[in-house]
């Protein structure tokens, strides 16, 4: 099994599981404690298993615009861009973040499970573009620091002026003396940062371990279970569960990533034709009054007709209720629509809900109390 540069720490203190071929911590103390630490204070996640690909050179921006349906070239340097890789049928190959470090220099961060396929995809499509492609996954570590206290925790350790780094912006900086890239991004719904630490390999992981130990002086180490419950509460899709090759950006409710002006990207023609007709199914949130919906459970309308399927479900530590993401038929997708979920031999009532599931005045990066 593969390991990250921080494996030594995890193996000592975490409850481990296999994830995307890596031996990763699923929790350290408790999923709900870790979840609540991120919502109320600050948590640190090892996300080094995610793929990091450096794409640079004169043709790098145009190559990326071939690969993703989002505008890249016209974006300012220092922008972090959430986007998708599509196939020709507009099915989603992966969701990813592009960090525009300089005009012709990008970091592409992809899901661990797709990292190999994505790298091949980028390399194949790069023919004819003046772009160099380098896989930095094994030579760097990546840590997500998430929660309302993230800036307070990170600022003393870095040369970056975090007060100047806005949401979805990125920059190079030193963190505890180590060359790093910092973006104000994350996948929990909270404010926070993702830090790529360079010069850290599994053979020489000291730089990564030093930054991690520096952060967890104050931040709570968090495992994959809390990462999943946090992203579900925030309404962020999980590739392979909520979105995939069978969902296009409209079904995935991610049409906001699509460029308003271009369709010269892979899948562009299919996106253009899908745009004309409303999707039959769409990704929606569900809140149940009691019980926990799980992936695969059927979603029923008020007259008990099947109208969809749960794609991921969990217990929300903030709502203290079962929440789910599911693909539901258009007729049932209005917010507030009463639905039922078939759970083993009974059904549990609930409603179609807006993402995020929590009250944005109290939780998440838009909250009114994080001193922005």
């Amino acid at each position: 099994m593969k390991t990250t540069q921080l494996h030594e720490f995890h193996a000592e203190t975490g409850h481990m599981t296999e994830f995307a071929g890596y031996d990763m911590p699923v929790w350290y103390t408790s999923t709900s404690d870790e979840h609540l630490a991120v919502r109320n204070h600050c948590g640190a996640f090892d996300v080094s298993h995610m793929g990091r690909v450096r794409v640079s050179g004169q043709g790098s921006g145009r190559l990326l615009e071939r690969l993703v349906p989002t505008d890249v070239v016209s974006q300012p340097t220092g922008k972090a861009i959430y986007t998708l890789f599509l196939n020709e049928r507009a099915g989603i190959l992966d969701d990813l973040i592009i960090l525009k470090m300089a005009e012709e220099d990008f970091i592409v961060v992809v899901n661990a499970a797709n990292a190999e396929a994505d790298l091949e995809h980028i390399q194949e499509e790069s023919r004819g573009f003046d772009a160099s492609i380098r896989d930095d996954t094994a030579s760097s570590a990546m840590i997500a620091l998430q929660g309302p206290d993230s800036r307070r925790v990170l600022q003393p350790l870095t040369t970056a002026d975090l007060g100047q780094l806005k949401r979805f912006r990125c920059q190079e900086a030193q963190v505890m003396g180590h060359a790093s890239a910092i973006s104000r991004t994350g996948y929990t719904g909270e404010d926070g940062y993702e830090i790529i630490v360079y010069g850290a390999t599994n053979e020489q992981p000291e730089a990564a371990l030093e930054v991690w130990r520096g952060l967890v002086q104050d931040a709570k180490p968090c495992g994959l279970a809390a990462r999943d419950s946090l992203r579900t509460e925030a309404g962020y899709p999980l590739y392979g569960s909520d979105i995939g090759k069978d969902t296009d950006p409209f079904v995935a409710d991610l049409a906001w990533v699509l460029s308003a002006s271009r369709q010269d990207y892979i899948g562009g023609a299919a996106v253009a034709s899908a745009r004309d007709s409303p999707p039959k199914r769409i990704r929606r949130g569900l809140v149940l009054d009691e019980k926990i919906p799980r992936a695969g459970f059927e979603i029923l309308d008020a007259s008990s007709a099947t109208v969809g399927r749960v794609t991921s479900g969990t217990f929300s530590p903030i709502l203290r209720k079962g929440i789910a993401v599911g693909l539901v038929e258009g007729s049932t997708s209005d917010f507030g629509t009463p639905v039922k979920v078939r759970i083993r031999d009974s059904t549990a009532p609930g409603n179609i809900a807006r993402f995020p599931f929590y009250d944005e005045k109290l939780y998440g990066w838009k909250r009114q109390s994080n001193g922005k």
């Binding site: 409850h15 031996d23 408790s30 999923t31 709900s32 279970a225 419950s229 926990i292 217990f315 530590p317």
Partner: protein, 137 residues
């Protein structure tokens, strides 16, 4: 007895599905093992059979559900349910805190204790089962 962080009390009998059975007198108490509780982590719901229900060895009698996953509970022995742990409705976390104590799930009056117990593992057997199957490093 212990495997890694997981407690395995000597006096109990175990299933390969990580339930335990123990007790004296006419009834047997049933719960999930420390390994099951730690693997599930953060139990948030427990569903149990009704008192008086007949249950059959190794058949599902309820569920223990955590934030992350749901797990069926298989009874180690056949019998009649004489009690269920009502405290778990308000405090499901007892399953994590004391899986062999206040986090017990149900009590049954076994119908065939003598022959059915031969299908269960003792602490040593359960330890070996965990060594062979628990997430390897």
């Amino acid at each position: 007895m212990k495997f890694k962080d997981y407690e395995i009390p000597d006096a109990l009998l175990y299933t390969k599905e990580h339930e335990w059975a123990g007790g004296s007198g006419g009834t047997v108490r049933i719960g999930v093992t420390d390994y099951a509780a730690k693997t599930l982590n953060d139990v948030v719901y427990v569903t149990l059979p009704k008192v008086g229900a007949q249950v059959a060895q190794f058949k599902s009698v309820g569920t223990v559900e955590s934030i992350k996953a749901v797990s069926e509970v298989y009874t180690p022995l056949s019998g009649t349910v004489t009690a269920v742990n009502e405290a778990l409705n308000a405090h499901p976390e007892l399953v994590n805190k004391e899986p062999y104590g206040d986090g017990w799930l149900l009590e049954i009056r076994p119908t065939d204790l003598g022959s059915e117990s031969r299908g269960l593992l003792d602490a040593q057997g359960y330890l070996r089962h965990l060594e062979a199957t628990a997430h390897k490093e």
